[in-house]
Amino acid sequence: MTLVPIIKRDYIVNLAKQGKRIDGRKFDQYRNIEIETNIIKKAEGSARVKLGNTQVLAGIKMDVGEPYPDSPDSGVMTTAAELIPLASPDFESGPPQQDAIELARVVDRGVRESQVIELDKLCIEPGEKVWIVFIDIHILDYDGNLFDAASIATLAALSTTQVPATRFELGEDYPLPIKEPPISCTSIKIDDFVMLDPILDEEEIADARLTVATDNNGDLRAMQKGLNGSFTREEIQKVIKTSLDNGQEIRKHLYKNLGK
């Protein structure tokens, strides 16, 4: 882990007491988001998301395989994340560590539990052959808040995915059937201050973290609390409110980029 000087933490807290953040944003202000889709030719769908200086690439590959015995007429999805040494001096190559697994599972939950991918439409022969959707997340540049960057990249990549039916001699390619996705917003807490979309300087000294995924109706679709600090009930409600407001903005931005 990178060594964080104590005076840096003190200074960030001092700024927070005056309602300020180290990069000049408001507590509930998101960084600028840039989305680029269909950049990987070999992938069935792909998107690169820049969240400030954080950069994440999500790629979707599809294959034909067997369904799970308990859902014989439903497609299969899996999500993996790699914290590759390109993105940070603290990331190492090799099998995924805890952090990468948590990241992949949180993104996976956001997609799976809200049935963003209509898996029931991905059956080819019940009990025999179904489509398998592989979501792979690559972190290219790490400046905080991988959860949101990875989730936005995944949703953008899924939205551009073409089912490669031709390659498997199953008819014409067609767009992956997907439903309106929930949007994740992550906040962190330092001392008594709660801040949205942390940069690395803030994330490094965070006591607690909360990710909230909300849908277009303003309902909650997934949550994940992290780190060894805690939130009060009031703080949680405030985080949810902030996530709802920002989630709507991000959704609009995402749709605009996808040309919807």
Partner: protein, 243 residues
């Protein structure tokens, strides 16, 4: 598909993708593209898309790997799961470990490692979209990223492959040429001196064919080397003007 089914090169010496025998695929190089890394490069070479990032020199860990006289160079070549036709399992495999090793050794030849005893220089190479020739693309991107990181070097290393398709020696194999060709010779050089720092070969070549392939690959390296230098100078030209 069998080799005979595919006509990789026609009677006039024009290849599947319209290139001449000694023509490179289109190449685009950008330096200093990542915020966190000490130095970085993004490279597109035909259908290949590659990032390279440099971290260090920093203290070599674990400590028993330290060399009291010089820095160790750790290149890590990795392919994204979605970079190939059939999804690849994430993480290092035997192929990527081997490529990491030969690239690390090639880089050690040009880096002035004795200036940094007991330390390590990490070079991460990520292939995001793969279409033949990724190790040469990776070495080329690594060279730019190292220069961008301010690592002292005697030269900027560069890579380019030559090979044989349909009985003819050609420069820079493309996708089908790599799959159905007769031989592939990836080469890395120090372009100033022409010293060979990476060389592999697979397939079948006569001694004369090999020498022709080598000539082509060296010529290719020299062309790519120019693009590397332009990318580095372009980056700092914009800084000079005060963006």
């Amino acid at each position: 598909m069998k080799t005979e089914d595919v006509k990789l090169i026609d009677a006039k010496g024009i290849r599947l993708d319209g290139r001449k025998i000694d023509e490179l695929r289109p190449i685009k190089i950008e330096s200093g593209v990542l915020h966190r890394a000490d130095g970085s490069c993004y490279l597109e070479w035909g259908g290949n898309k590659v990032f390279a990032a440099v971290y260090g020199p920093r203290e070599a860990i674990p400590r028993h790997t330290q060399n009291p006289l010089r820095a160790i160079v750790n290149a890590k070549y990795n392919m994204a799961a979605f970079s190939v036709e059939d999804r690849k399992r994430p993480g290092p495999d035997r192929r990527s470990r081997e490529i990491s090793k030969v690239i690390s050794e090639a880089l050690e030849k040009v880096i002035l490692t004795e200036q940094f005893p007991r330390s390590m220089i990490d070079v991460a190479i990520e292939v995001l979209d793969a279409e033949a020739g990724t190790r040469c693309a990776g070495l080329t991107a690594a060279g730019v990223a190292l220069a961008d990181a301010g690592i002292p070097m005697i030269d900027i290393p560069v890579g380019c492959a030559a090979g044989k398709i349909g009985g003819k020696v050609v420069l820079d194999l493309g996708k089908e040429e790599d799959n159905f060709g007769d031989a592939d010779v990836p080469l890395g050089i120090s372009p100033r001196t022409g010293e060979i720092i990476l060389l592999q070969m697979d397939g079948h070549l006569t001694f004369d064919e090999f020498n022709t392939a080598l000539d082509y690959a060296i010529e290719g390296c020299n062309k790519v080397s120019k693009l590397q230098k332009e990318a580095l100078l372009r980056k700092y030209d914009t800084i000079k003007e005060g963006k």
